[in-house]
Point group: C2
Chain length 246, copies 2
């Protein structure tokens, strides 16, 4: 095994709603792109291509958004967009809203983000169904590589953000080792490697945050790549009732 | 930039208390190991070399350990070891104890682990001061690479474990971008990349969990490597009072 290699592909042009993202990626992919490769794609270009953007100007905040915005000194229209994307606001503190999205992700501002938006006053949302987006991208690329759609999430207990997998296709997102023996033949403590999250984190190290290089090619993960698209990144979402920290 | 490359070094022999871990690593390191390289070292070999192991047989459980063990059907001696390593038990549910360690890490069983222990009945603890351990390793390697000491932690909200940095030396563990402009010249949302955690996660993808390859060489992170040992992984620990989820 030669290990893991991560390399950012050349920048994409500005992605706008309706663009064929697979074709844009194909144009910058290396000619030897293979089915065992993994492409990690920053969710923003996916959201933009899918029209998952809103303009601040078009939003009329409701009562709850106005109250939260006043309390946390935020733009009430932004807060309304966050509430629209949220199944539940878990914490609101010091200007930060930690929300569970309708998909079941727990993250700041329900993933609604102004940074790296194309137009002033534009909000980028998370893709509506990131696993479906990943499957579509995979189908649209002739080499049929595995796809991970990534975003940066904060963590409780630890500072800083790491990239995690919102969606995936053709990658074993969770490699469950429970019941397998350790190197000394004893049963392992419950151990399941969050492969897709680790792949997203590795990809993030291969590009600078402010560069326009949303796509990173990962090689050396062939053992986790599957012919079927599989369940995507859904196995990484912890069900509410299994969660000790709400 | 040629991206990021991660490669597991050859297996180490069984590490025992008192062993010179830097010398054991030096013996498997490539001859071109450089100061800009990062070595990610699984904490277990560090703990073993430092004598941070206990034998189950030597432990007499106290009252609280006996009660918790009965409630969660665990070995009371193991529970006593977990309590000894814990500043606080945050949750105890279904056989899992989520604890804050004396260092301030929040993890299952306060990091006390039987898997990959050398002897039956041996418990491996976290290093007492992982940043200090990292500095010592760095000083002991002639090429003076950056060091990350890693362990696998579970996450609330997401299933599966990812490797995180317990300790570090010579690596900018947290790359704080807040206030810097995004690719479109607008201020970024609060963004700080947990570089050392992402490095630990990337390294984990380069080795199999059950292999005896505790050391992974990362190349391509030179921009985060510092001449000074720096504050280690401490900047990644979220202070209790900044934590919204306790």
């Amino acid at each position: 095994v030669d290990g893991l290699h991560a390399r950012a592909l050349e920048p994409l042009p500005d992605v706008r709603p309706g663009d064929d993202l697979a074709a844009l990626i194909e144009a910058v992919a290396p000619s030897d792109l293979a089915g065992g490769d993994v492409l990690v794609v920053a969710h923003k270009v996916v959201s933009k291509a899918e029209g998952r953007v809103r303009s601040l100007e078009s939003i009329t905040p409701g009562e709850r958004a106005l109250a939260l915005a006043a309390e946390h000194r935020k733009d009430a229209r932004l807060v309304q967009a966050v509430l629209d994307e949220s199944a539940e606001v878990l914490r609101a503190h010091d200007g930060v809203l930690i929300c569970e999205t309708h998909h079941g992700f727990v993250c700041a501002n329900a993933g609604v983000d102004q940074s790296n938006a194309t137009e002033p006053g534009e909000l980028v949302l998370l893709p509506a169904n990131p696993d479906e987006s990943a499957r579509r991208l995979r189908a649209g690329l002739p080499a049929h590589p595995a796809i991970v759609i990534a975003d940066s999430f904060g963590r409780p207990w630890r500072l800083g953000q790491t990239d995690v997998a919102l969606g995936a296709a053709g990658l074993m997102a969770l490699d469950d080792w429970s019941g397998r023996p350790d190197a000394y033949g004893r049963e392992l403590r419950v151990t399941a490697i969050a492969v897709a999250d680790a792949a997203a984190a590795a990809a993030d190290l291969a590009r600078a945050k402010d560069s326009r290089r949303p796509v990173v090619l990962l090689r050396g993960l062939e053992r986790y790549v599957t012919e079927e698209d599989g369940p995507g990144a859904a196995p990484l979402r912890r069900a509410r009732e299994q969660d000790l920290f709400r």
